[in-house]
């Protein structure tokens, strides 16, 4: 076991735990701990092996390496990939330096992002939106053309909108870990790189739909749900069915009695509890197919949880000021 302290909160965790996991455990264990002590993640996904390390949003500062070697680490580290040591101390939200560096990362993620949220199916449950609200600048410093790609269809069910991709590699890891051979990966290099199946091949696998759920942004979306509704106008419920391929435990997104969309059940970190099969996800759109358990509690990563709109202050908008500006304009 190793004892770690993050932002002043201490917890004992098994050896081999990462700083990020330890922070999540802290938040899970103690309701008094601010959920933000767990760093935001855009590429790490606890259910996917070797995920994490790419996006750099989860950075923290290690102020004390361990009991044995108390030296601080010279540079911020990716908490999702750094294992704890006994006696380690780190800072996340209590460090202005970390917040500043994270702001930088968020800016990098946004400079080439199209910001087409108004027409994006992911809007409302997009991790990049969340991150932007919490750490973004209100005005971009980037005044060059943004990179664009053509949209492609990966098979009948999945839309790939590469322009929105933030290169988190989660979908690549899903494809790698659910299929026996490589069907989906990265082409080209640097800021010209793109995620692709190369020749627009469908990922021919019963679990391919999960790449939609793991995508933190609207780069991979469900074609059966495309432009049907904003997510916050749909009602999520937990439901299950007898499925031979997966557990059959899903979240249905209803409008009236219509099932607009089926997804995995996401936990408070925005990760699905279990991967579901394509049959459940794409082909069972009749309420009679399902046993409905009850409303689904939406934790954090969705505006429908009203979390982000709890108060105007959290939106960081000063309505009074705006109104004043409008009235003086007239």
């Amino acid at each position: 076991m190793a004892k770690v302290t993050i932002d002043g909160h201490t917890i004992e965790v098994p050896d081999g735990t990462t700083i990020l996991q330890a922070a999540r455990m802290l938040v899970d264990k103690d309701k008094m701990v601010d959920a933000k002590v767990a760093p935001p993640t855009m590429c790490y996904y606890s259910k996917l092996k070797t995920s994490g390390g790419y996006c750099r949003t989860c950075i923290v500062k290690v102020t004390k390496g361990s009991e044995k070697d108390p030296r601080p680490m010279p540079k911020p580290v990716a908490s999702c990939r750094t294992k704890v040591m006994d006696g380690m101390e780190g800072v996340n939200i209590t460090s202005p330096e970390v917040i500043e560096a994270r702001k930088g990362v968020v800016e990098f993620l946004l400079i080439n992002h199209p910001l087409d949220c108004p027409i994006c199916d992911q809007a409302g449950e997009c991790h990049l939106q969340d991150l932007g609200y919490e750490h973004g600048l209100s005005k971009t410093r980037y005044d060059f053309p943004r990179r664009t790609f053509n949209q492609i269809d990966i098979g009948p069910y999945i839309k790939m909108h590469m322009t929105r991709c933030i290169m988190c590699f989660r979908c690549v890891k899903v494809a790698d870990q659910i299929t026996d051979y490589r069907v989906h990966g990265m082409l080209n290099r640097g800021d010209a790189s793109e995620i692709s199946t190369y020749i627009q091949k469908a990922i021919d696998n019963d679990f391919s739909g999960n790449i939609i759920d793991v995508c933190p942004v609207g780069a991979l979306t469900d074609r059966t749900f495309r432009f049907k509704s904003r997510v916050w106008f749909t009602k999520p419920v937990d439901a299950h069915r007898n499925c031979t391929k997966c557990s059959g435990k899903v979240a249905l997104w209803l409008k009236g009695n219509d099932i607009l969309r089926v997804t995995g059940r996401k936990d408070q970190w925005g990760e699905v509890e279990e991967f579901i099969c394509n049959e459940c996800r794409f082909e069972k759109k009749d309420v009679k197919d399902w046993t409905i358990e009850g409303p689904r509690h939406i934790d954090r990563h969705s505006v429908i949880s009203a979390n982000h709109y709890e108060s105007l202050a959290s939106l960081k908008l000063d309505i009074g000021k705006q109104q004043k500006a409008l009235s003086t304009k007239k």
Partner: protein
């Protein structure tokens, strides 16, 4: 005349052939190591020699070798990094092209020390003709019983292969190199684990630069203590420097570490002074990634002491007034050079070569290039200098591999030492001729 240990025979006719190479004492270190030393003896000699990695980072080679994990029944590998893609660096090419057997000899001796049955030379795609030279040399070595089963009648067997890369700079980063060698996309791995624990095919692996491996031969022959007498302090031995730019005699020079920078630039034995008698403006001392220094800071450090060609002396003063020895790519700029344009060229390079895995490097390198392009074309904004500074600061230290740092340092140092020149570009756009300001989106997307 300084001592030469690596390329002293470079002018001997046909030194690239095994016969001539052996006539000049070649492969003696293989004989000596395999027949009269244990592998551990060789490692000890390398440790005593104080040899530091010649690929750029300067990590002590003996220490790296002693970190190599040695689990029972698991293969170990030696991989030679011949990717040499750092702008300004062309010393490994010279060595391999002129005296290929010097590298092969080093590969065998080093592999013996590490207990590696197989080794690979990963060479950059553009060096395809050098790969052929190496393959020829390996063929000769096999025929002479220096490679293959029971080398020179001993128990040691070894195979060495040349693998040509696809020509990406990032494949010089050791873990990207290993990925590429395994046939995958050359993306740097997230460390730990380090190659010494899990490298090629998940097996313990040592990755060393061409020059580092070649230097093992003289160390075995003369002994580590004797080697350590050359040089100054913790910078021991000799180093190949590839000198280019506005000098009278560009080329590859072998120097004893500790040579004063001023002597290196102005002495006829080396660079022979600045071309056309012009004045020195700046130097990038160790390949494009290291900070550029203005003339007054490269010749003398901030305390006014002469700078020496050593790891320590060049980095004296930290990044505020110092730089690094790096890979030994010594680029000299005279008074006619535009630092801004030069920086733009470098920024283009790093943008082009970023692998795209981590957000700060993938997005930041492109952004910096575009801003510099705008400045060079006469459309810079006064806020651009601070913006560039802020971007490089947010890339540095927050990436998976050091390419992010390598992209940030040139920008930081150019602004630190030549800020006025940037201001001039921005304030007097009319002076900058041939303005074409465009950047097509297709170009960006690589379409």
């Amino acid at each position: 005349m300084g001592k030469k240990l690596l390329i002293h025979n470079d002018k001997v006719p046909n030194i690239h052939t095994l016969q001539v190479y052996r006539e000049h004492g070649g492969y003696a270190s293989v004989e000596k190591a395999l027949k009269s030393m244990t592998p551990n003896d060789v490692v000890e000699e390398v440790k005593k020699s104080g040899l530091r990695g010649r690929g750029g980072a300067g990590f002590p080679t003996g220490m790296k070798w002693s970190f190599l994990a040695k689990p029972e029944g698991v293969e170990r590998y030696l991989v030679c990094n011949a990717d040499e893609s750092e702008p300004g660096t062309f010393k490994d090419r010279y060595l391999m092209e002129k005296i290929p057997h010097a590298l092969i000899e080093g590969m065998i001796t080093s592999s013996y020390a590490l207990g590696a049955k197989t080794s690979y030379i990963y060479i950059r795609g553009e060096y395809f003709y050098v790969a052929r030279i190496l393959e020829k040399a390996i063929e000769e070595a096999y025929a002479a019983g220096l490679l293959g089963k029971n080398i020179l009648g001993t128990d040691f067997s070894h195979d060495c292969y040349v693998q040509v890369g696809g020509g990406a700079y990032i494949c010089g980063e050791e873990t990207a190199l290993l990925e590429s060698l395994e046939g995958k996309r050359g993306n740097p791995r997230i460390k730990p684990p380090f190659p010494a624990i899990a490298g090629l095919y998940g097996c313990p692996t040592v990755v060393n630069n061409v020059e580092t491996i070649a230097a093992v031969c003289p160390i075995v022959m003369m002994g580590g203590d004797e080697y350590a007498k050359i040089g100054v302090g913790r910078s021991t031995g000799t180093k190949l420097i590839s000198a280019s730019g506005h000098i009278n005699k560009p080329g590859v020079y072998e120097i004893e570490l500790g040579l004063p920078v001023e002597e290196f630039i102005y002495s006829d034995e080396y660079c022979g002074g600045i071309i056309n008698g012009r004045k020195l403006k700046a130097v990038i001392a160790g390949g494009s990634s290291v900070p550029i220094l203005p003339a007054e800071l490269i010749l003398k450090n901030d305390k006014g002491e002469p700078r020496l060609m050593t790891y320590e002396s060049l980095s004296e003063g930290g990044f505020a007034t110092g730089t690094m020895l790096g890979s030994g790519g010594f680029m000299v700029y005279d008074e006619t050079t535009s630092i801004v344009k030069n920086l733009y060229t470098l920024a283009r390079f790093y943008h082009h070569e970023s692998c795209g895995q981590c957000s700060p490097c993938r997005e930041g390198t492109g952004w910096m290039e575009k801003i510099l392009h705008r400045i060079v074309e006469g459309h810079g904004k006064p806020s651009d200098i601070d913006l560039l500074w802020d971007i490089q600061r947010k890339i540095e230290g927050n990436t998976i591999c050091p390419l992010g740092d390598a992209a940030a340092w040139p920008v930081a140092s150019a602004i630190r030492h030549f800020r006025a020149e940037f201001e001039e570009y921005i304030n007097n756009p009319s002076k900058i001729k041939d303005v074409k300001h465009y950047y097509s989106v297709n170009q960006l997307a690589g379409a």
